[in-house]
């Protein structure tokens, strides 16, 4: 936790917040912080700055803070991700949030196991937890928007044209695909399931204007490929 994320609703007065639960335990037990110690603070969806622990009890910590700068700039890369298996989903959401991705669609595909959609990791609370961990890691305050789409074709045919602005990129381990190019331009990248997209899906992506890019001959795990692509497609 490199930044304590407080919510506007946790303010007891302007510049004084009471935090409890995981964050209070982490401050005390992992970071070993006590009354008088300082730390980086940010308000959810707001600015970041500095704070001091004014008081602690068994359950909570009271932080006095001043916000004075904007959170780090967002990544121009948005993700359409075939739903990965639950542990990989959790790590991927946290990692891409820490990289500043702000728009994520989790999409069904022929090679996504249906059981993944019933995972506890897809509840709004479980997703929100991973996003907050990613923000705390990267000292950001702005959660990405995560949307679930359980039907491939209606999303790609009907919704995607309005959703994907700028460059459109399909991540493929295929030979012949172009290497990713760094850019400030808004970019949407679609990343397939383990085992890849099926031919029908590939046709749909092509019809939607997604050109293949490749990270080379190596097949990477989803969580590795996503980090590599967001890094390579974003600003140099």
């Amino acid at each position: 936790m490199n930044l304590l994320l407080v919510e506007p609703s946790e303010r007891e007065e302007p510049g004084l917040a009471r935090v409890d639960g995981r964050r209070a335990r982490h401050l005390r037990r992992v970071l070993g912080k006590g009354v008088g110690d300082s730390l980086r603070v940010g308000e959810l969806d707001g600015e970041v700055g500095e704070g001091t622990i004014e008081h602690m009890d068994a359950d909570a910590a009271w932080i006095r803070y001043v916000l004075h700068e904007p959170p780090p700039p967002p990544s121009p890369v948005s993700l359409v991700l075939a739903l990965p298996r639950p542990p990989m989903l959790r790590r991927t959401l946290q990692a891409v949030t820490s990289l500043g991705v702000k728009r994520i669609v989790l999409l069904h595909a022929a090679r996504v196991e249906k059981s993944f959609w019933t995972s506890h990791s897809l509840t709004p609370e479980a997703i929100d937890e991973q996003l907050r961990l990613g923000l705390e890691q990267a000292r950001d305050t702005v959660r990405p928007r995560v949307e679930l789409r359980r039907r491939f074709r209606p999303f790609v045919e009907d919704e995607l044209p309005g959703w994907a602005t700028g460059r459109r990129v399909l991540a493929e381990p295929e030979p012949g695909a172009a290497a990713p190019r760094a850019s400030e331009e808004p970019t949407t990248v679609a990343i397939g399931p383990e085992g890849g997209w099926v031919p029908f899906e590939l046709e749909q992506w092509r019809a939607a204007g997604f050109g293949p890019v490749s990270l080379g001959p190596r097949i990477l795990r989803v969580e590795t490929a996503v980090v590599a692509l967001v890094t390579r497609l974003g600003p140099a």
Copy 2:
């Protein structure tokens, strides 16, 4: 497992190997493979090609195979990594192996917890397992060399000058550091512990010719930062 990795010692005759244990179970249970099914095969430290399952019993599978091409090219990036906590170490070794890194030093530093050095994850068998998982993922056959260095100063002062050929890069979240530049040139990147290097260590890195590069204002988890750096520093 995108490639079945066999060892020369597992050959029963040229082009026929018997594999057991984790790989045999994975073939049967996860991939659902049976007699007559084909799969990608590689020999440890050798070439890759295609094989067919000739026979299976409760414990093992016999694979007939032909090797016909070299493994994917290695990454020019070598890593000196302050020893991360064990779960992160396992994921990081697997990820960087899948990215083709071939030389890794795990180094002590002031902010590395001493207890990390007693982890089971540092046994040769445990490290080897992660390397093989990374190779199987990326269809590679050549394990990275992983060395453990429990004393910071003798390594950086005495060993590193011979070890680090080419570019020398210190990963830092500091403002003012240069952005990483893609290159085919051999590059050694040093990545600090959670909490960063202490001032004495930073001086040692500078004295050893390591110039700071930054991935921007975001502080990333080690496993995310490593993937981002290897991707950004390697060939475009």
